[in-house]
């Protein structure tokens, strides 16, 4: 049933209702959610599957654990604190180094040890939890981001989000932190999302909020036409995300570390829809292409094959749109 937005439907744009009822409900069984919602668990599963992830330093499961945090972190100058069950980047703290007794945040602000412990204790008591119940705080390796995105990001770590449909990469974007996002790569916090041509790994136009933009608001550099490095590897990790999570409609978030290359940060069972604006294209034709592909051949067990198979898919249906976008 459709009441309005017929032109959007022709453009293949996926809306929230259809995403929930048509894709998430049939493809993402509820029992699989903990695999991606609990980041501690995701990390363990990912390591098992041989996926590169940031190293885990410490997990605080209780208030008592939280107090042991300073000792556990003494060896690490920089690290990231995040809630295991958080959503949308809420509650994430990126510590860049130390300044006397204080921790220096990526924004340049200083934070006392008491303030840090309070933050961890808030996480453990469930303030950022999706369900509102008790949670764990995890502390992990802080990614040393690659210089390649320096021209088009402000502080923070740009990350790559790839939508994986039934195991096949379908659409991608790079999320570029801005001053207003406080170095975070979440679109609703003010980061800029740049679409990525899935066949080539070249950035396309971008979206800030719900508006299309062409340049980064802080560096004022053109966003279009930047090559995302390790593109094949990124696609492969994304495809592997399906094997780890078994979610048919999945968002895989990755970062590119200067030394370690692509690392999987987290996976999302309800990825947002702004990626469509960043790419200037709707998701539905791509899903249809993958459905068609899967109807003609058996599912390819090798994630690398699925990642490679996307070229064929993209050329068949999606590329013309991307090309017109670039032109």
């Amino acid at each position: 049933m459709r009441l309005w937005g017929f032109a959007l439907n022709r453009a293949g744009v996926l809306g929230i209702n259809e995403r929930n009822a048509g894709y998430i409900m049939p493809l993402n069984p509820r029992r699989l959610y903990p695999r991606v919602d609990d980041k501690v668990r995701t990390k363990a599963l990912a390591r098992e599957a041989g996926m590169a992830v940031p190293e885990l330093y410490f997990v605080a499961r209780s208030q008592a654990d939280a107090l042991r945090l300073p000792d556990a972190l003494s060896a690490h100058a920089s690290f990231v604190v995040k809630p295991a069950n958080g959503s949308g980047g809420d509650g994430i703290l990126v510590v860049d180094g130390r300044y006397g007794e204080h921790y220096r945040l990526i924004s340049g602000d200083l934070m006392s040890e008491t303030a840090l412990l309070h933050h961890v204790s808030n996480i453990v008591s469930g303030q950022y939890s999706l369900t509102g119940g008790a949670d764990s705080a995890l502390v992990e390796y802080r990614v040393q981001f690659d210089q390649v995105f320096d021209a088009i990001s402000f502080q923070g770590v740009p990350d790559v989000r790839i939508i994986v449909y039934r195991g096949y990469p379908a659409m991608a974007m790079v999320r570029l932190p801005t001053r207003s996002s406080g170095g975070k790569a979440n679109l609703h916090q003010g980061a800029v999302g740049a679409g990525v041509d899935i066949a080539s790994g070249l950035t396309l136009g971008a979206v800030s909020g719900n508006d299309r933009v062409t340049m980064h608001p802080d560096t004022l550099n053109e966003i279009d036409g930047n090559q995302v490095p390790h593109w094949d590897k990124l696609l492969e990790i994304a495809a592997l995300g399906y094997d780890v999570s078994e979610l048919g409609y999945l968002g895989v978030d990755m970062v590119i570390d200067r030394d370690l290359g692509p690392l999987m940060l987290e996976m999302n069972a309800r990825p947002g829809l702004n990626i469509q604006i960043a790419n200037g294209a709707g998701l539905k034709p791509r899903f249809a292409a993958i459905d068609q592909h899967l109807a003609s051949i058996p599912f390819e067990a090798d994630p690398a094959a699925r990642a490679a198979g996307r070229r064929e898919l993209i050329l068949r249906l999606v590329a013309p749109a991307s090309v017109s976008m670039m032109g």
Partner: protein, 507 residues
């Protein structure tokens, strides 16, 4: 569950809800709107007589067949008398009896009715009447008159019409003059007409009753002529020859005998009084279903104690508010705090009025939010912090109530009706969103919540709707059907149209 099963379940819900609704509305006469008053008539027959020594038996003929009227209740007022009702030929008999009584006696029989065109009482087909025994020369006059009338008519209806025309002619023929000489009063004239019709073997009887019009302390008993044409009874006004009864004629008795009779008393006087009153339709339905022994009302909300009914009057509107919320969230795409919080705010608006509710709610949340930001600096753990916010909300409510009372603003007192836990949770949620995603997002969700609450409040406040749902709770099945269907709505939300507008143009 695929779309088909959702559609089937929704269809079944909607059909059963609507079927029950239509049955109650049109079969049982439950009123569709709140202010439908029905005109109800009270007809009171009073018997007055002087008691003689010894036992007294009084008899009053009371109605049994009353086409066009539904009886709500009947009773008798008769101090010290035994009373019973029996069926008798032509109607029913009310009988009073007492061993002894002194002085002037008054007995009352009272019936409460309302006009109901759907009521049709079945009546029996009478046998052909015998030729009445009349003395000469009346007998010859009757035979001749009826012979003429028969010749100038085709069937029973035209025969009666012809007879009445002749009888009511200002210059009647000699036979008519002879037959009706000295007969005054419509009862006696009608009696003679029935005798004449018997010569033509046409069954007829007098129908006596009162006109229900205005207030009448002494309502005259009117007589109509009922004639059976072989299929059914038709009624004529013996004076004007008009066919049919006036719709406000309440048939009391069929027959020529005196309506009241008393043994052991003198100077019997029978008087009819008519009183009109307006009664709420629901009371009419309630009384009638009691009179008919129907269970429809026993299993409706009206069977509950009044206080419980008042609770349900509010509770039953909650699904309607929830429906509004579904529409605003899933079809329009407004952001709110939590799923049901706007609904709870809307319910508390019912106690405070929309504007006062808006002001009080915004005031409480913003004050609470300011204090919550202060608490943030104290670095409290989650549950103690929530509790602290809750206590502060209660204190704020108290302060607002007292201040408002001092200022003479009575609506300020109703602040206490806001669910404080809801406000505390709102403040907490809002402060987290504020900190994490900025003031814009927090305010957006706050405004969204208030908008949904306002819409839900306005819709829940529609009196006609409240009456409808309360009288016909089965309509909730229809609401359920709509909600089920919207659960499978995969179209865009209205606010997604501007959001994705750029994509539309790029194609």
């Amino acid at each position: 569950m695929n779309n088909r099963s959702v559609h089937v379940i929704a269809f079944l819900c909607a059909v059963s809800g609507l079927a029950l609704f239509f049955y109650k509305a049109y079969r049982l006469g439950f009123p569709l709107t709140a202010d439908t008053d029905r005109t109800v008539w009270t007809i009171e027959a009073s018997l007055r007589f002087d008691a003689r020594p010894g036992p007294i038996k009084a008899e009053l003929k009371v109605p049994a067949l009353t086409s066009g009227f539904t009886t709500l209740s009947e009773n008798s007022v008769s101090g010290g008398y035994g009373f019973n009702l029996d069926y008798a030929d032509g109607g029913r008999l009310a009988r009073w009896a007492v061993r002894s009584a002194d002085g002037e006696q008054r007995l009352y029989y009272r019936v409460v009715v309302y006009a109901d065109p759907s009521v049709e009482e079945v009546d029996t087909t009478p046998p052909f009447p015998d030729i009445p025994a009349l003395d000469e020369p009346l007998r010859t006059a009757a035979v001749v008159l009826m012979e003429e009338v028969r010749e100038q008519s085709a069937d029973t209806d035209t025969l009666v019409a012809e007879l009445l025309t002749r009888v009511n002619d200002p210059t009647p023929g000699p036979n008519v003059e002879l037959l009706f000489d000295g007969l005054s009063g419509s009862l006696r004239r009608t009696q003679r007409l029935i005798e004449l019709l018997a010569f033509a073997r046409v069954p007829a009887r007098p129908l006596r009753g009162v006109l229900l019009a205005d207030e009448q302390r002494h309502a005259p008993v009117r007589t109509y002529l009922e004639v059976h044409n072989g299929v059914n009874w038709s009624v004529y006004n013996p004076r004007t020859a008009r066919l049919g009864l006036p719709s406000n004629f309440y048939p009391w008795w069929r027959g020529v005998d005196a309506l009241a009779d008393v043994q052991g008393g003198n100077a019997l006087d029978l008087n009819f009084a008519v009183r009109r009153s307006q009664v709420d339709s629901l009371d009419v339905v309630a009384q009638r279903s009691v009179a008919q022994g129907s269970i429809a009302l026993d299993f409706s909300l009206f069977g509950l104690p009044i206080q419980t009914q008042a609770v349900y009057a509010v509770l039953l509107m909650v699904p309607i508010g929830a429906l509004v919320m579904v529409v605003l969230r899933n079809f329009v795409g407004l952001q709110t705090f939590g799923s049901f919080m706007p609904l709870l705010i809307a319910i508390s608006f019912r106690e405070t009025d929309l504007l006062a509710g808006f002001v009080l709610f915004s005031l409480l949340t913003s004050l609470g939010l300011a204090i919550r930001f202060g608490l943030e600096k104290l670095r409290l753990l989650l549950v103690p912090r929530l509790t602290a916010v809750l206590i502060i909300v209660v204190i704020l409510m108290l302060v607002i109530s007292i201040l408002a009372h001092r200022l003479g603003l009575e609506t300020g007192l109703s602040v206490a009706l806001f669910p404080m836990v809801i406000i505390a949770m709102t403040i907490e949620r809002m402060s987290v969103i504020w900190e994490e995603r900025g003031a814009a997002d927090a305010i957006k969700a706050g405004v969204g919540s208030l908008t949904v609450a306002a819409f839900a409040y306005l819709v829940m406040g529609i009196d006609a709707l409240e009456h409808l749902i309360f009288t016909f709770p089965e309509l909730l099945l229809v609401v359920l059907a709509i909600v089920l269907l919207s659960g499978r709505y995969t179209g865009y939300r209205l606010l997604e149209l501007p959001r994705f507008a750029a994509l539309e143009k790029s194609r």
